[in-house]
């Protein structure tokens, strides 16, 4: 009977016009399991939060301090997101449209700051300006940290704009500004929103930078509450508030972004001829980019290197090596687990798009803003009851997967949607069942993009700190934990080599992420086309 009910449920959820195929019960169970796993931190929070009597919960939520923290968080969010939108659009559009030699390489230094964790950023800037503190300083640092997300998101869309639109607009006599606002902007609107979402959720969940700058955001407040009063109940209540904030954020993004992206299998994209030749724009672009890269990349690295060189203590090579190895191993494992977890949902979305898959996707996205400390404690609570798994590399990798699952899923759905609908239809008419269509057409085409998403999770996991501290095997250090432990006793010179090594290693996946995927192919008749789209 259970089978029947589940089949019935699956059938109801998947019924859409003309598609009576039902979801295979195994897939349904897998995705259900995935959702259950994702919900572990929420369950933890709710249990802890409701250990408190309701009036106390209400008082916690409504007291002045909470409102103040909310205000600070909102102000910070607003500043970072707005500046990112403005700067990101400016720089990305410039890189894409302004004629410059090696224009596509410009994106690399602009995105490399992703390799630097926000706490390392803040340490280096504090070294330069010791009095740095407050909301504006935090906004400054977070803008530097999150701008690459915005740039990457917008560039993806820009690269898919059919240059035909722009050429037509030009022949119709529109000025560049008009073309930008009427032709380009509508097509990148969804990406801007996606970039804003990524930046915003990052700001919500960041702890390192804001705490060092004495700004109390929701996450800092939660962490302080865990630490100071050991009142996990109160901290959990505030965590639920954090989740509410991210739900709101995600809903706004849902409204803004395009539902159906324009699908073109082959189309003429910007060739060099259609780039704008303008000395003044070139100068503007180079100077803006230059300022950003200096502030976000060169200065921090300069500080790290000078600290490293000025360190009288000898270098602990074996410590560095083992920390690096641990970092890479457990982050790679975490990325793989995230991929494995997001695969069933991705498969579901590609094959049986419908209410169930949409709901599942939303549930997973909400976890995006959960701070590491919450996931860490939830897994401590659960994991300590599970014997040898506790404080094992596996559990830590699992924590990473949970923490960054939202990123993996978002990137997977994006990659899958890149596959044009018409290819799926043709495959169906050629005799492939829905599942076969997914395996023989959708997945192979989406695979490179999925790979990049996994790379993003890998990169983010390397920088993670709070959950790592709690869940790592006793005696194992990652580069991040070493940086933290030296910085905690003010040994910045000793922390520097670890920070440098982390940045160096993280630069590799970052570099890969920044490349303009989707190579130009020359056709026999000389025009260039791109096949599908890889990113």
């Amino acid at each position: 009977m259970a089978t029947g009910v589940k089949d019935g449920l699956a059938h109801r959820f998947s019924a859409s016009r003309g598609e009576p195929a039902s979801i295979h019960p195994a897939l349904f169970a897998l995705v259900g399991l995935l959702l259950a796993v994702v919900l572990i931190p929420f369950v933890y929070l709710i249990i802890r939060a409701f250990e408190k009597p309701l009036p106390e919960i209400a008082q916690l939520l409504l007291r002045g301090k909470t409102l103040e923290v909310l205000g600070t968080t909102t102000a910070l969010l607003a500043m970072v997101v707005i500046v990112n939108i403005f700067l990101g659009t400016l720089i990305a559009t410039g890189i894409h449209f302004v004629r410059m030699p090696r224009a596509h390489l410009l994106i690399v230094p602009a995105v490399l700051p992703l390799a630097i964790p926000s706490y390392v950023f803040t340490y280096t800037w504090l070294a330069l300006i010791p009095s740095l503190s407050g909301v504006f300083a935090a906004a400054f640092i977070l803008i530097l940290t999150t701008l690459p997300y915005m740039l990457l998101a917008i560039l993806v869309s820009l690269r898919r704009i059919d240059s035909g639109f722009i050429e037509v607009a030009r022949t119709l006599g529109l000025t560049r500004t008009q073309i930008f606002f009427r032709v380009v902007l509508p097509q990148i609107r969804g990406s801007i929103s996606a970039g804003a979402l990524l930046s915003g959720l990052y700001v919500l969940s960041d702890f390192g930078a804001v705490s060092l700058l004495n700004v109390e955001t929701l996450t800092v407040s939660i962490q302080n509450m865990f630490k100071s009063s050991y009142d996990r109940g109160a901290a959990s209540v505030i965590s639920l508030l954090l989740i509410l904030a991210s739900i709101i954020f995600i809903s706004v993004d849902e409204r803004i972004k395009d539902k159906k992206a324009k699908e073109n299998v082959f189309k003429r994209l910007s060739t060099d001829d259609s780039r704008i030749k303008s000395a003044s724009l070139k100068t503007l672009l180079i100077s803006t980019l230059g300022i950003y890269v200096t502030l976000a990349l060169f200065l921090p690295i300069y500080v790290l290197i000078s600290r490293f060189i000025g360190n009288p203590n000898p270098l602990d090579i074996s410590g560095l090596a083992s920390a690096a190895l641990s970092t890479v191993t457990v982050s790679a494992l975490g990325a793989l687990i995230a991929l494995l977890f997001s695969a069933p949902l991705g498969f579901l979305i590609a094959t049986h798009a419908g209410r169930f898959s949409r709901v599942s996707e939303r549930i997973i996205l909400i976890g995006h803003a959960l701070p590491g400390v919450v996931i860490g404690l939830a897994l401590v609570s659960l994991g300590s009851k599970l014997g040898p798994i506790y404080q094992s590399i596996f559990l830590l990798a699992f924590a990473y997967a949970l923490l960054f699952l939202a990123k993996a899923v978002a990137s997977m759905t994006f990659s899958l949607q890149l596959v044009p609908q018409v290819l799926k239809e043709v495959a169906a008419t050629l005799g492939k069942s829905k599942t076969k269509v997914t395996t023989s057409v959708v997945i192979p085409i989406a695979l490179p993009s999925i790979g990049l998403g996994t790379l993003l999770v890998f990169l983010t996991a390397m920088k993670e700190l709070p959950a790592t501290l709690m869940l790592r095997p006793t005696g194992m250090d990652t580069l991040a934990t070493q940086i933290w432990s030296y910085a905690a006793i003010n040994r910045f010179n000793d922390a520097a080599p670890y920070a440098l090594l982390l940045v160096l290693i993280a630069a590799i996946p970052t570099f890969l992420l920044s490349l303009p995927w989707g190579d130009w192919e020359s056709k026999a008749d000389g025009t260039k086309t791109r096949v599908g789209s890889l990113m």
């Binding site: 019960p25 865990f226 630490k227 300590s384």
Partner: protein
């Protein structure tokens, strides 16, 4: 095929649920000859690792040490509860120890463990013992400050306008304010804090920053722990022009906090853990603490760190260290006054 898959899923779920419900119960059986011991250490690796190494050698027991922030480790222990893999928790402040004690996760230590530590620095029912002393002092620049304050309550006076530095986000400062609230009441503490604020007190993120600022003559006086002048000097690699000073005897500004240790109830190696505590509280190790980390030894009659009065001569107020665990109300007060 489908049916057996479903059965497998249900069975797995049942196993997980069952283990969640019951958890592994902490065993009462003690391991006779432990070969390994797990320590959660809020003291940083840099300072404490050599001591651990020494004990490992002499006791022949391997130490698995988990380093972290004292408060975060305490929160983790509270979450782990009876399933904690830790045998010993070495904390940097009494507040964390009190929180774990309150949750009944420490065992009562027999009287012969850490007998050298005076009762003042031991929890009431011997849940945890102090290991080193960390005195609150005022650090000052002798070139700038000629007349030294005698009470922490003077710091709101005009003489210190714009010249005092504090680190309100620091756990030791908050512990001090908590002690102030416990001793004199929340109103008193609030008035004192408001007085500082009105007196242009300078805020720093860390104690070391305060000491550096004193050395640079940005400020002339700051409220820190006694060992920071050494920590900063060693970090900078040079001498600094900062000295430690104590308030008059009995003044709350002279509060002594402790780093301490306790044995977890979840441990199966009480004997070995207690051995470690004995080592840490032995005369020899205590003297080394004084020499290397410049903390105070808690043993009666022990030598003080260079240039400082002996522990019993500081004139510390009597403070119930157990009561320092609730910093939430202190933080709220600091926020209310606008210092956090």
């Amino acid at each position: 095929m489908k049916k057996s898959l479903k059965a497998l899923v249900v069975a797995t779920a049942a196993v997980i649920a069952a283990s969640l419900m019951t958890g592994c119960s902490s065993s009462e059986e003690q391991v006779a000859n432990a070969t390994e011991l797990t320590v959660y250490s809020g003291r940083s690796e840099e300072f404490i690792a050599p001591f651990f190494a020494e004990w490992e050698q002499s006791a022949g027991i391997k130490l698995n040490v988990r380093y972290g922030d004292s408060a975060e480790l305490a929160a983790q222990i509270l979450e782990e509860g009876a399933n904690s893999p830790a045998d010993l928790f070495l904390s940097q402040d009494a507040g964390s120890l009190g929180a774990v004690a309150k949750a009944d996760l420490f065992i009562e230590l027999p009287n012969d463990v850490a007998e050298s530590i005076p009762a003042t620095y031991v929890a009431a029912n011997r849940n945890w013992v102090g290991v080193t002393g960390r005195a609150r002092v005022f650090a000052y620049n002798p070139d700038l400050l000629k007349v030294l304050p005698t009470s922490v309550t003077e710091l709101g006076n005009a003489a210190y306008k714009g010249k005092l530095g504090i680190a309100p986000s620091n756990a030791s400062f908050q512990a001090f304010v908590t002690a102030l609230i416990n001793a004199q009441g929340a109103d008193f503490a609030q008035k004192w804090l408001e007085g500082l604020k009105a007196n242009d007190v300078r805020i720093y993120p860390k104690n070391s920053a305060i000491v550096e600022a004193i050395d640079k003559k940005e400020i002339s006086i700051g409220l820190v722990n006694h060992y920071y002048i050494w920590e900063v000097s060693e970090g900078l690699g040079r001498e600094i022009n900062v000295k430690n000073g104590f308030f008059k005897s009995g003044d709350l500004g002279n509060m002594i906090n402790v780093s301490g240790a306790g044995v977890l109830t979840s441990s199966k190696k009480y004997a070995a853990a207690q051995e470690l505590i004995n080592f840490l509280t032995s005369q020899k190790t205590q003297d080394q603490f004084v020499a290397q980390t410049h903390e105070y030894s808690l043993i009666d009659g022990a030598k003080a760190p260079a240039g400082l009065p002996v522990l019993t001569d500081i004139g510390a107020p009597s403070v119930d260290l157990n009561a320092l665990k609730d910093i939430q109300k202190t933080q709220d007060l600091l926020v209310k006054v606008g210092l956090l």
